[in-house]
């Protein structure tokens, strides 16, 4: 295109006025191109090839329950995840049973989980295993609170990457009172708690 323009400007019949306008236009184009290039270049200078994903920092989470209601998905992408390696396999599980439970059985009246997503199975006396059915879990965090208050804190809320649409601005992060929703490089995957403390 610039060739064409230059030719035009050399042509004797084109007025001086047009020349100036072409010159101005070329200048503006160069300016637009350079500013776009510099903004992009500057961003690139501090970019990373990795993608960012949202995760809950379990050390900050206060289990306010907003994860269940504020995710853009109707069944929140926040699920309870169980780090079995931290679990005490207790019979009386603070995450499974209501605080004042009388009978340690699986009756609906004893469950803490409103959707019964936490399953209990017998391993060996006196140990019980607890698993989360993610298709039922709505991320309310009640069990996490219970486990943290009475147990090892092996249950915790985390964002399931399979479900998370990875919004540019996580809707939960905006309302999280503890600023626990953070963006981490995708290669780091999950911010899960690790095993037993020594």
């Amino acid at each position: 295109m610039s060739n064409e323009k230059i030719e035009k400007s050399i042509l004797p019949e084109t007025g001086k006025h047009l020349n100036r306008r072409d010159f101005l236009k070329t200048g503006l184009r160069a300016a637009a191109f350079l500013s776009l290039a510099s903004i992009t270049g500057y961003s690139l200078s501090k970019s990373m090839s990795d993608d960012l994903v949202w995760q809950i920092d379990p050390t900050k989470c206060v289990q306010c329950g907003k994860c269940a209601t504020n995710c853009v998905l109707n069944m929140s992408a926040v699920k309870c995840m169980h780090v079995h390696k931290m679990c005490g396999y207790c019979d009386l599980c603070g995450g499974y049973f209501k605080p004042q439970v009388k009978n340690l059985d699986t009756g609906a009246e004893n469950h803490l989980c409103p959707t019964k997503a936490l399953k209990r199975s017998f391993v060996e006396a006196p140990y019980y295993k607890y698993d989360v059915d993610e298709s039922l879990c709505n991320g309310c965090g009640k069990c996490v609170e219970g486990c943290g208050a009475f147990g090892n804190g092996s249950l915790h809320l985390q964002i399931n990457h399979d479900l998370c649409t990875n919004c540019n601005q996580c809707a939960i992060s905006k309302v999280c009172p503890a600023d626990a929703i953070v963006q981490i490089p995708a290669s780091k995957g999950y911010m899960l708690k690790s095993g037993f403390n020594t």
Binding site: A32, I39, D51, V72, V83, H161
Partner: protein, 419 residues
């Protein structure tokens, strides 16, 4: 029996509470050979898919530009836009989109500790680059939001310029606000108030659904209401498109002023022939001089006015918001009891530190509102100036800034292409 067990457990718990901060219950010693399972996690979307998105964007832009500039095929434009709706909307659920990426780029410009993924930069820069070369072919349909509005625009009506012009100022205000909030790390409002994304995710707040539905219903009659009267990215595309090297034309050859395309544009972006002499030179010149003199006044006044709003605006930032709450607690010596307040007190951060942070953010907002306001003043001043300048024009031409290259005018031109 039960009670004894309970007592034992509670004593055990009490002892543990007192002595240890580590796990309360020891690691079980399984005798049955039971093995402790790993926590099952599903890996995030592979990085290669993110790069594929960029490739798809590039290809879609190229194909769209080819259809617009070379083939002049409305059908091609239409089917490319359907593809974009399906890929970027239905499959990718609209994130990250070029419109929202302005905020990520802004954040990375202003906050050195935000590290931006390259893919997001590509989503920001590619459409702008293509627009600088080919006009707003991105808007034509690569942008799935534009494509959706294009799809529903069944019975377009024209908006008179006296209404069109003031409404077109909204994107500038929106852009300034979005950039200010993104630069301070307060919020990504473009993403939050995206009217269409809810339809693709089939989920949004009730209010956003209503907003989206209103835009779509309006969009039946008014061509692309979001693109024209809201889209902040459109402002940048508009600037780039004005300078574009190649831009689509209504006629494939030479305009014969047949007026057939006159009302064909759904976004009122056709510049019509102006052959009249300017009104009395004296009057016009005086007005121009007045407006020129007023321009700096506009800039300063607008900057000043905007800067008066920095405090309420800064409360959009969570830190300032929290600081206001904690300040209130201090002044009234009671707790609000909100989750935010509780969470803050549990961190052990000093209120003075929080206030200091809030002060620095407000400081940023103060200068940000000054600059943003001054920019808006400049924009308003120039808009007024433009209403007093007339440029001689003989042909029907697309307005390079506002034309979204949708190609709906092609079929109205009766002139055959020059061989």
């Amino acid at each position: 029996m039960q009670i004894v067990k309970y007592l034992l457990i509670s004593i055990f718990l009490l002892i543990f509470f007192q002595t240890s901060n580590a796990q309360r219950f020891p690691e079980p010693d399984f005798e049955s050979g039971y093995e402790v399972p790993e926590t099952q996690t599903i890996a995030p979307r592979a990085l290669s898919w993110e790069y594929l998105d960029v490739v798809v964007l590039f290809i879609a832009l190229s194909v769209m530009s080819w259809f617009v500039i070379k083939k002049r095929s409305r059908k091609g434009i239409f089917w490319t836009s359907i593809f974009s709706i399906i890929y970027f909307g239905v499959i990718r659920l609209g994130c990250v989109c070029s419109v929202g990426s302005i905020q990520n780029v802004t954040l990375s410009l202003f906050q050195s500790n935000y590290i931006i993924p390259i893919t997001v930069i590509a989503f920001f820069a590619l459409p702008l680059l293509f627009t600088l070369f080919f006009g707003r072919t991105f808007c034509a349909g690569v942008c799935f939001m534009g494509a959706v509005q294009d799809l529903v625009n069944i019975k377009p009506i024209s908006i008179p310029t006296w209404l069109n012009k003031p409404l077109s100022a909204i994107p500038y205000i929106y852009l300034v606000l979005a950039l200010l909030l993104a630069a301070t790390g307060a919020d990504f409002i473009i993403c939050r108030y995206d009217p269409f994304i809810g339809f693709f995710r089939m989920n949004a707040t009730f209010g956003m659904f209503v907003f989206g539905a209103v835009i779509l219903i309006l969009g039946i009659f008014i061509g692309r209401p979001y693109c024209r009267f809201l889209c902040p990215y459109g402002v940048l595309l508009n600037w780039m498109s004005r300078l574009s090297f190649w831009h689509t034309t209504i006629t494939p050859s030479v305009c014969i002023q047949c007026k057939l395309c006159d009302t064909s544009c759904p976004v009122d972006a056709i510049n019509k022939p102006v052959q009249i002499k300017p009104e009395t030179i004296e009057k016009g010149r005086n007005r121009l001089i007045t407006l020129f003199v007023l321009l700096p006044v506009f800039i300063v006044a607008s900057g000043f006015l905007a800067s008066r709003l920095y405090k309420p605006l800064s409360t959009i930032h969570p830190t300032v918001h929290l600081a206001e709450e904690i300040k209130w607690e201090q002044d009234n010596s009671k707790k609000t009891g909100s989750e935010d307040s509780k969470a803050f007190h549990s961190t052990g951060i000093q209120a003075s530190q929080l206030f200091s942070d809030a002060g620095r953010i407000q400081h940023f907002f103060y200068y940000g509102t000054w600059i943003g306001g001054a920019f808006l003043g400049l924009f308003f001043g120039i808009s007024l100036l433009k209403t007093s300048i007339v440029r001689r024009q003989e042909d029907y031409e697309p307005d390079k800034g506002n034309c979204v290259s949708c190609g709906k005018c092609y079929k109205y031109c009766p002139v055959p292409p020059t061989p």
